[in-house]
Symmetry: C2
Amino acid sequence: MSNGLKIGIAGLGTVGSSLGQLLETKAQTLTKSCGKDLTVTAVSAANKDKDRDFDLYKAAWFDNAVELAEKADINVLVELIGGEDGVAYDAVKAALLRGCHVVTANKALLAKHGMEFAEIAEEKGVILNYEAAIAGGIPIVKAMREALSGNKISRVYGIMNGTCNYILTRMLADNMSFEDCLADAQRLGYAEADPAFDIEGNDTAHKLALLTSLAFGTQLAADEIYLEGITNITIDDIHAADELGYRIKLLGVAQKTDTGIEQRVHPTMVPTNSLVAQVDSVTNAVAVETDLLGELVMSGPGAGGMATASAVIGDLADIAKSREGAQHAPVFGNPVKELIEYKRAKMREHKGGYFIRLSVEDKAGVIANIATHMADQSISLKSIVQRAQNGGASDYNQTVILVTHATTEQAVRDTVEYIEKEGYLTAAPQVIRIEDPDKA
Amino acid sequence: MSNGLKIGIAGLGTVGSSLGQLLETKAQTLTKSCGKDLTVTAVSAANKDKDRDFDLYKAAWFDNAVELAEKADINVLVELIGGEDGVAYDAVKAALLRGCHVVTANKALLAKHGMEFAEIAEEKGVILNYEAAIAGGIPIVKAMREALSGNKISRVYGIMNGTCNYILTRMLADNMSFEDCLADAQRLGYAEADPAFDIEGNDTAHKLALLTSLAFGTQLAADEIYLEGITNITIDDIHAADELGYRIKLLGVAQKTDTGIEQRVHPTMVPTNSLVAQVDSVTNAVAVETDLLGELVMSGPGAGGMATASAVIGDLADIAKSREGAQHAPVFGNPVKELIEYKRAKMREHKGGYFIRLSVEDKAGVIANIATHMADQSISLKSIVQRAQNGGASDYNQTVILVTHATTEQAVRDTVEYIEKEGYLTAAPQVIRIEDPDKA
């Protein structure tokens, strides 16, 4: 068909190669459902000579992705290079400026430059799709941009990093330390050699920034996210959570409050019988709470060549089915001009339940003192458990685990600070927020 | 805007009224995200004088839905009348023939006449959307028709009837009988005065028929569904399942096998730690298993005025954003001409695990006899538990609970038949299929 969709793929790593291969093997199916052919007409990658599973000869080769974006005979650029700047940025911008549609899986790039890209895309009347950028194969962007039309969203949250979820799941399942699980994740290819970006929560934060804009019609504000990774989570926390009826998950949460919008990424206790608690290993999940629909939860693979390529193909199919000159759905759900400025809610005013684990000297009056400090800050306790710590060296130490009813971050921070000053803590206190997905 | 979308609503019950109201209160938001106004220009219902929450005066009133479909100044008909034939059928057909888009929440109508409607819609180049017809607010049609482009689906299954899920959840939570839960569901408005259609599985079957076509590119075959309702499920089954690590859910399952496609609706045991097991009360869930994506699970409200209206609004927004003369996504994912004939897999060749509960006389040799019958049919047992039944009258009875490894329906039916002939059963045997969503 002469009016087929001509696709340029920039970046031929795992996802790019899977995509190239699938567009060949699934050509017939896609032509049928899209009403036109989807053909890869141009590719670029760092190394032309690497063995790849699909036939490059039909496509024009470009050593440089930007040159591909500027000059290749394409209708849509698929950016799979990665990186928040550099070639990825230049290529996407060049393609949009030229009036090419763009599909990208690059959350870091979008979190930083999404507003600029959206503006150009609107101006040029082209589509910028990024389903693969958030929670891999889960069609959350489509759900939020299209299916939830007319819904007012009050909260969106999710498990959006497979590395972290794998580690947290494994710690409980196999009673392993954080460090051992991380090492295993690296061995299995679930974690990078330098895992900081995943386990410190940055990757989740990028995805959350995009969700926040889609949910609340605000400008992207990826730098305004409260960030806590999972490096601090011990096997003791995991066990304590389990006993209390919770699982620990690294959640990204965006939520409207009286003072603005909270964007936070931190280890979170969720009830064991909630849906997100059952989302294990590298699987991702995103939940959206709205005025009309109530709660929608979607779960699926968050990464992997095939799952990511699946999301990219969905994006390409939408572009293939779109009509030249048609009004396209705005990149972040609303026209750029109408996106409102992001107003950050103060983290200290965050309201929720808290899990507090304290290591204390085994002496009279400590519990009374802790309870008094809690009462002073008007913190109401749901449960308090005291017990001897295991092992020889800490025979004289006790663990005190407190679970609060809803209170404020400020009250908890103040309380912990006062308790630390008392001098009976034998280790740094642990504080983990509790999110009750079913009772929001 | 002169090129706004003109909507005719046929049927002003709970959903229709919610919809009318929402299109007014959300007008600004919808105009912004769709790029045009969405206006109700015509309505019809049985009773004009009933008090409704939105202003009918702006819309033209029709006593007759078919007349509305034929004559009103509309671009899209929203059919919310219900019923698999009659006025709903006539109105939808009239609208399509006239070149009007159609949105409907009517699964019974589509399950019966979907092929005819799809053909007309294609011929006339109009859209037939039905997101609300399957699992209420969950955007499963959008996911399957659009996001999963290029994916080959191997299985789709779901909890798609809120009445059944409410009853099964409540039985376990409050240790209540089926009958008491049903009565409560009726009091709370979760079940109809005549609940047969829900609890016998027919409603789930209608939704499953639509999913099957979307998943496998087959013609609708709603009459070819193996059907078992939940009326037979006792509190003993619920407890036995719980002890074995399962929940009982009414699932609709469509699955490719060597001999065809299974379409089956029946009470099913799913592992307690699976996602679908945690989907409680009136909430619905649908899971799709594919070659590229792996497993996608979506959960959300399956009914209710607002949730259903939300799905209808999503459908309307898609129509508003579509372009006149554009190629629209085929109604069932593939052009009608290319839908292949449905080939039913033999239920007797179904493979899976089975839970078998037998009430037997307390006498020597019974267990040995049961085990021998199982072995004769090459059924391998995962567990077997025998215990005295509670209560006075059955002091001399024993309950035997067998859980099988994967076997065939034929083998189980034969075994149960042979065991029944032995004469030691004191009540009808119970057989419940086990589905392992995480091990497909």
